[in-house]
């Protein structure tokens, strides 16, 4: 449980951090909240030659609404989501997730940006951001660019950030009228990764679902949207049969692997159940 040797840098500015990334290339790892990286280093599963600690860079931790979006600074702690009136009153899906990420001790340190940049399908924010249709902002030596969340996750622990880019902000569209969201997670105990979890964002109009985005947690090698389940809902009155069909679609399109949390069959069926329950909760909130 003792990490290998590494160099440590603590830049004061984003520009400094980026130039360190440019200098050290794939030898370097960004240290944000450290809730995934530090354990991996203690087990020597991660052996970065250089740690670039971005905790001392001012201005990366904020939550504010601007131009129809909630802007979340990459270094915003998970606990800040729980404490935010904006999040709690308008971004129910995000608020649901913030309450079930790991445990309170972890949430005090873990960051939203780190959770997404780690690109672990077992993390909660990937599914949440997929359901929101969020945008990721990335800063590199050539400036800042936007990455649509649908284009962000590329493989297990892999994403479309360049080697010399830092994730700086996440933008969530402010829910329109008639829109509701929810996140439900089944975990074996508090602090565990999900056996399966579903993030659902629905827009309802006169009893009909006009838009739906569904993200799934820990049932695929890459964070995924349940697009067939979404299609089963859009344009439909959300009857029990329609919701069941969406659940079944999600169960069929997810791609879980067997582990101590359960078999493939269990995780698929659980995904069906979680998607259905999350749809119902999102519906209630949309109306």
């Amino acid at each position: 449980m003792i990490p290998g040797e590494f160099d440590y840098h603590s830049p004061q500015t984003l520009a400094e951090a980026i130039s360190l990334l440019v200098e050290h290339g794939d030898e370097a790892k960004i240290l944000a909240g450290g809730q995934s990286l530090i354990p991996a280093m203690r087990f020597r599963l991660a052996l970065p030659g250089t740690l670039i600690d971005i905790n001392r860079i001012d201005g990366l931790s904020y939550l504010r609404e601007e131009n129809g979006h909630l802007l979340i600074g990459a270094m915003t702690r998970e606990s800040a989501l729980e404490e935010s009136d904006i999040v709690q009153s308008k971004y129910h899906l995000l608020a649901d997730a913030a309450a079930v990420i790991a445990d309170p001790l972890v949430r005090n340190l873990a960051t939203v940006g780190g959770n997404i940049a780690h690109s672990d399908p077992a993390n909660d924010h990937p599914a949440v951001m997929l359901a929101y249709g969020a945008t990721v902002m990335a800063a590199g030596p050539n400036g800042t660019r936007r990455i649509a969340i649908d284009d962000f996750f590329t493989d297990l622990f892999e994403n479309s950030l360049e080697e010399n880019e830092i994730l700086t902000e996440i933008r969530i569209p402010t829910p329109a009228a008639g829109t509701g969201g929810a996140y439900l997670k089944l975990e074996r105990k508090v602090g565990d990764y999900a056996i399966s979890a579903a993030a659902v964002q629905l827009t309802m109009s006169g009893g009909t679902c006009t838009a739906a985005r569904i993200g799934l947690t820990n049932v695929s090698p890459v964070p995924m949207r349940a697009k067939n389940a979404e299609q089963a809902l859009v344009g439909q009155t959300l009857t029990d049969d329609v919701i069941e069909a969406a659940g079944q679609a999600a169960a069929a399109e997810c791609d879980p692997s067997q582990d101590l949390r359960g078999s493939v069959a269990y995780k698929r069926d659980l995904t069906r159940v979680m998607v259905k329950r999350t749809i119902r909760k999102a519906m209630e909130r949309a109306n």
């Binding site: 449980m1 003792i2 087990f43 089944l186 074996r188 105990k189 565990d192 359960g262 659980l270």
Partner: protein, 819 residues
């Protein structure tokens, strides 16, 4: 009870002798049950029955505890261990040259190095042998392969990465039933090439078979009591400090049994015992996991001996979970028989114990399957036969008790599951069925078919109280209504009997050392006292409860009594703390030693009062002239006189020692009731309520008992729903961190509702029985019975623990139930 040796089923541990349990007159008796805790001392004395806050807690909650890892000695070196990535492999070569070239690396110790001193193997507590470091092959995943000694903990860790071991993998033996086939032999070092370790039988087979042949009803179930780990908050570790000038080996060590360990160290290493000092400082939980000697302890001691410097070794969490002794891992094929009236008449068990690579259980020597034969539990069963085999597999050696008196948890789980199953089959309410089949209070003194003479008990009283407290009848009505609506709710009962307090010295020993325990009390001139014990608290609260026992007996305020344990240079010899034995043995010794002091105090009081001893009577804290309480000498007066004005014909001083050998074990019991709601969609089990009524005889400190029960229930919840050590087909441990080995937290734990009945032990000096393990033993079947009760109407008869959401989901879907 018979222990015999079938020549067709070879054993490789020492011959075991026949064990019988005749107990002396009065050590088993019918005893009245009460609910009122007797308090006979004022609050300032704080004897038995007072809810005294624990004296040890201020230092723990202020971070002032002193644990092994807090020990820092000048010039101290650090040890780290290279561990095997294979469960079974030949070691072809160990190349430590790169590590030895690193600055700060002083030595790499291999099995060959230890072999030169004859220390590459060590005895286990069950007289089997276990590798300290391998010379030929490894036999479990994460086994110690060699050790690095360095000037810095970080250098030691880096050096481990620079040691290259060449392995030739062999087939792993993971399934104990497969092990029986002897295709791959784990212990090729043994004379007879077999994986079978021992065969053991208890009870009358012919009589049991006959009962079964005539029985009207039989239930039969295979169950696995899974391999689990105590996972104490503090891992194991030591600081070995050999001083070449004094030739003294001082070892700070995470051990529950410092004296026994000193003797074992002396016998294994050849060091003279007076030159070995074991200090067990504050211990962060033991639960049986700190009874055995692990290879790391021996390697660390050897390193200190060779280098002449202090060496610290502290395991990390994964090492602790992967390599230290497991608990349980019993496979049971169990049958229970009842006659035409539903009366239980027979119990038949075939068991297979998976011991891993060595029988390193921490049982009394003559009990290879521990006290499993208590398995008829709280029920009056005419005939019982238990038939057990044990095998080697390529897993870490064991097993230890995990907060349980030597395999009682396995036995209780089995009988409580079977009894519930029988009740359901007969269509009788499980509570009513238990009431019908209990050993009734008037049947005491009671001797079971396997030879146990229960000291005292009143099983109906505890169950009745639990049912009243939880509102049993109302819950059954609610369950019936919910079932109509398709909702799943279950009520589970466990009415367990424990057997603790080993033990009577004639039958109970560890490596030949009899299982007595000791207390030494010294009263200082000003009336304050120090008391030392052969046991060792790991969180049980001995500093408080032992002080209260002495306060009760002598009237010295509990706050004026310093309790010390764990230093073999100062404490009297004892076998340590495990198996709920501290109160039954050392607690009894405390009372007996105090009574010796009281007897001497009487002589001094008579001298001071110029009265004859016959005219004096004891009253809380003073000897007084009968009928004249104002003509009295308090214990404090007497203590001062013992050093300043004692009678000429009496030795000065006021102290006593007692080595207590109990005449019988104690048999704490209780009834637990658990209510669960089951989620049809996900298979989640929600524990809505849990009522625990414990009877541990007379209560020394209700607050400490409640704390013990809360902790024990949580450690019963853990294996019932969360904990299991899992291996893959290659013998690789898949649960080496707390991310995979799941410990319930406060979030997962229900609100524990506790209560008590009091049926004192007839043979214990203060009528106490011990309670630390009762809840761990009693809770799992209450939870399992509740879950099965919720699903019984769907055709579900049994679910093995840990009851995970997936197992429940599977049972539901198999029954065609979904959401």
């Amino acid at each position: 009870m018979t222990v015999y040796h079938d020549p067709n089923k070879p054993r490789h541990v020492d011959d075991r002798v026949e064990v019988k349990h005749p107990v002396p007159e009065g050590a088993s008796a019918k005893v009245e049950t009460t609910e009122q805790i007797a308090v006979t001392t004022p609050p300032e004395v704080c004897g038995m029955g007072h809810r005294m806050k624990r004296k040890e807690d201020p230092r723990f909650i202020q971070g002032r505890g002193q644990y092994v890892d807090d020990v820092k000695l000048p010039g101290m070196l650090y040890m780290d261990i290279v561990r095997s990535p294979y469960a079974h492999a030949k070691i072809l070569d160990i190349d430590a040259s790169a590590a030895l070239e690193m600055d700060g690396v002083l030595a790499v110790i291999t099995g060959k190095d230890l072999e030169a001193h004859g220390l590459h193997w060590m005895p286990t507590l069950m007289s089997d042998t276990q590798m300290v470091l391998p010379t030929e092959k490894v036999v479990y995943y994460a086994q110690e392969v060699c050790a690095v000694i360095a000037t810095d903990r970080y250098i030691a860790a880096d050096a481990v990465e620079n040691i290259f071991v060449d392995y030739d993998p062999l087939d792993a033996v993971v399934d104990p039933f497969k092990a029986l086939e002897d295709e791959t032999i784990v212990r090729t070092d043994k004379e007879v090439q077999t994986n079978r370790i021992w065969h053991w039988e208890v009870g009358d087979q012919a009589a049991t078979d006959e009962v079964f042949a005539n029985a009207k009803h039989v239930v039969k179930q295979y169950m696995h009591i899974p391999r689990i780990h105590v996972a104490s908050i503090e891992t194991c570790g030591m600081v070995a400090n050999y001083n070449p000038a004094t030739e003294k080996m001082q070892i700070y060590m995470t051990t529950q049994a410092p004296h026994a360990i000193r003797t074992v160290f002396a016998l294994v290493t050849g060091l003279p015992e007076h030159k070995i000092q074991i200090i067990s400082p504050d211990i962060g939980g033991g639960f049986g996991g700190k009874v055995p000697v692990y290879p790391g302890y021996v390697i660390g001691a050897v390193a200190s001996l060779l280098l002449g410097k202090p060496v610290k070794w502290i395991e990390d969490r994964s090492e602790n979970l992967q390599a230290d002794s497991f608990a349980r891992d019993y496979h049971l094929e169990a049958e229970l028989a009842a006659d035409e009236n539903g009366k239980l008449v027979g119990l038949r068990v075939n068991g297979l114990a998976d011991h891993g690579a060595a029988d390193a259980a921490a049982n009394p020597s003559k009990f290879p399957a521990g006290l499993f034969s208590i398995c008829s539990g709280s029920y009056d069963i005419e005939a019982t036969h238990v038939n057990f085999d044990a095998v080697y597999t390529t897993k870490p050696p064991g097993g230890v008790a995990y907060r349980c008196s030597f395999r009682v948890t396995e036995a209780v789980h089995m009988i409580e599951r079977l009894t519930d199953m029988m009740a359901h089959d007969l269509g009788i309410d499980p509570a009513e069925y238990r009431m019908q089949n209990f050993i009734q209070p008037e049947q005491f003194p009671y001797k079971s078919a396997t030879g146990w003479e229960y000291d005292s008990g009143n099983y109906p009283a505890a169950l009745k109280k639990a049912m009243d407290m939880i509102g049993y009848d109302e819950l059954r009505r609610e369950q019936a209504e919910k079932r109509e609506r398709g909702e799943l709710m279950g009520i589970g009962i466990s009415s367990f009997t424990e057997v603790v307090g080993a033990g009577p010295a004639k039958d109970y020993d560890i490596l030949g050392i009899k299982m007595f325990d000791s207390a030494e009390i010294r009263i200082h001139p000003t009336g304050k006292a120090i008391a030392r014990f052969g046991t060792k608290s790991q969180g049980q609260g001995h500093e408080t409860t032992y002080a209260q026992i002495i306060a009760q007996e002598l009237g010295i305020p509990a706050n004026d009594i310093e309790v010390e344990e764990g230093d073999t240079d100062t404490a009297p010899y004892g076998l340590g703390t495990y198996a709920s034995r501290s109160t039954p043995t050392a607690g009894a010794a405390a009372a007996m030693a105090a009574r010796k002091i009281r007897a001497k105090a009487k002589k001094i009081a008579a001298h001071l009062l110029e009265a004859s001893e016959e005219d004096l009577e004891w009253n809380v804290n003073q000897w007084q002239v009968k009928g004249s309480p104002d003509q009295a000498k308090t214990i404090q007066d007497i203590a001062f006189a013992a050093y300043t004005n004692h009678p000429d014909d009496l030795e000065a001083g006021l102290e006593a020692t007692d080595y207590y050998n109990p005449p019988n074990l104690t048999f704490p019991f209780g009834s637990y009731i658990c209510v669960v709601d089951v989620d049809k969609g996900t298979g989640e089990v929600h524990i809505r309520r849990f009522v625990a009524i414990d009877d541990c005889g007379n209560i020394i400190n209700p607050l400490v008992v409640e704390g013990q029960v809360h902790g024990g229930l949580t450690m019963g919840l853990a294996p019932a729903m969360f904990e299991e050590i899992v291996y893959d087909e290659y013998g690789t441990c898949l649960t080496g961190t707390f991310a995979d080995y799941l410990l319930p937290t406060a979030v997962e734990s229900p609100k524990w509702e506790t209560g008590h009945t009091i049926t004192p032990s007839p043979h214990h000096p203060i009528g106490a029985k011990g309670v630390g393990e009762s809840p761990t033993v009693g809770a799992p079947p209450a939870i399992a019975n509740a879950v099965v009760d919720a699903l019984w109407h769907l055709g579900v008869r049994h679910i093995d623990i840990p009851i995970t959401p997936q197992k429940v989901w599977q049972a539901l879907r198999d029954a065609g139930v979904s959401d």
